[in-house]
Symmetry: C2
Subunit: 333 residues, 2 copies
Amino acid sequence: MKKKVSIKDIAAHVGVSTALVSYVLNNKKEGRISKEVTAKIKQAAIDLNYQPNQIARSLKAQKTLTIGLIVADIANPYSSQIARIIEDEAQNNGYSVIFGSSDESASRTQDLIMRLLNRQVDGYIIAFPEYAEEQVQYLKRLGVPFVMIDRYYPGIPSNVVAIDNYHAASNAIQHLKENGRKRIGVVSYQTSLCHLNERVKGATDLLTDSTLVGEVRIDHIAEDVSNAVNRFLSEPKPVDAIFFTTNLLTISGLKCLNNLNVKIPDQVAVVGFDETDAFDLFYAPVTYVKQPMTELGREAVKLLLNAIENGDSVESVILDTELIIRQSSVISK
Amino acid sequence: MKKKVSIKDIAAHVGVSTALVSYVLNNKKEGRISKEVTAKIKQAAIDLNYQPNQIARSLKAQKTLTIGLIVADIANPYSSQIARIIEDEAQNNGYSVIFGSSDESASRTQDLIMRLLNRQVDGYIIAFPEYAEEQVQYLKRLGVPFVMIDRYYPGIPSNVVAIDNYHAASNAIQHLKENGRKRIGVVSYQTSLCHLNERVKGATDLLTDSTLVGEVRIDHIAEDVSNAVNRFLSEPKPVDAIFFTTNLLTISGLKCLNNLNVKIPDQVAVVGFDETDAFDLFYAPVTYVKQPMTELGREAVKLLLNAIENGDSVESVILDTELIIRQSSVISK
DNA sequence: CTGAAAGCGCTAACAG
DNA sequence: CTGTTAGCGCTTTCAG
């Protein structure tokens, strides 16, 4: 790799001090430098193809213009969609994004926090996993700006950007009831994660039979979803609708219902969570809770930049979802 | 944000020079430092919760342990899957990943290259868009290590990790023919991108009627796919099979075939490209060309690290794909 | 108007 | 065994 040209090379080339070069290239001290020198320096910068060294700048400025993004898994469409929006929004503000996947593990999250801390990120946007309250407290103690996205802990006041999970779920159930469904099952993860439990609560608060909840272990999705669905269908009074609380659960549930040759929506209505091509392509396009991805990402960056600049701001942004109603949940003629 | 503790603070705390602290904390000069001092320094580092400043280290070492990843769009599942593998592999080697999305634009790619260059990334993994030969040459001129992933330019020798697109496509067509399909249409992008044109070539070399190729503009996917499919079906001798060369095209095509009430595979057999949940969930699970994602990501990182360490290595890795055969393409009984 | 010099945090060559 | 020092590339104060 060729040696890069520095401010020093330009200074030598023009015959001035490095300070002047820095001033000119950063448009500081406007007009207080002779037009002549200014022009020469700018020309030299171009001739030598000068590129500022952001690392040196960061060291000096104690600011890297870098955001650390920690998601559960960048390969999950939900995460990657958010990542894209955060990338754009960060870039518009001169920031870059370093990302990491936690695989829903608190210790991996801690690792990533440390890695990124060493790299002096100016702040974090994090979708925390279960049992990571300690990590949240750690960040607070450190005083590093961060915002929690999607996931949150009720007891810990912090910057949060999330959706109104309770209402998202109750809207879904409401819709199913309005379409004549009487026995509604709910499939969610076995978790302490607040955002998911709010979804379950939003649903069950509207339901009379609380046994119709399936809890899926995150590392046994296919197996547990299948068990739940089978149980729902073999009840004395089988379910006539199922609400899934995440995209992965919905997809797994649909595969299972397909295998069982259950007709949707005739026999069982389905409402899912999050948007995916698979829902469009399904023979009965799937009704789902649509999250405002763009706003989520934008607000997260906005809150973070605000926190970076103004220190101790703490703000919660709770966004509304939309129920996209399609064939999988409506009364068939 | 609290002030971070530096090597200097530890030195002051223990009453030694910063150099000693650096040695101890990096396990340099093993044993050549008294056990006593070593212990004291290590303890102080823990007590003060010292975290090394990777930025300072990078400036000194002229090495950031950072990889720049440029993909078309991190929100595309293909990109985000690769990103995840690259992340893991990079992390195993002590590297972090900064990413950027080019939106298939050469000028955005150039922007990202510059941004990441300023941030002193040690190397790049890039899925180049069309007409970015100049950018490739720029990187070569700079002497910055990089590897091209997925996409490549035939004339420019570089580190490349890609699949054997020609064979992937000809296998797909072969399979359709073996299953009795006589009139096979191909839908691809209107592009100069080599990897896609190889797919078309792999297909058409086995086909007699070369008019059955639909070219889709990347910014009019739905419209152009629909036109192509409609044309194929309204031929004097309509097609009995369609091969789509990317995941997005396949999904768009399936939606279109659904709208037209075309029965798959009875009326038209379908083979797609890349893996997605949507293919599993489709009423006739979709036959597709499966790329070796893990190997692609791993090899890319391997080649890059090799280039970073050994300078001017140039290597091409071409990986095989697998045709996953399912209902959408087999003769129905 | 211009420049010398200090210093961000760390490492490593060189001296004791 | 331990410490001094210079310097990575950049910014900025302060002094000409």
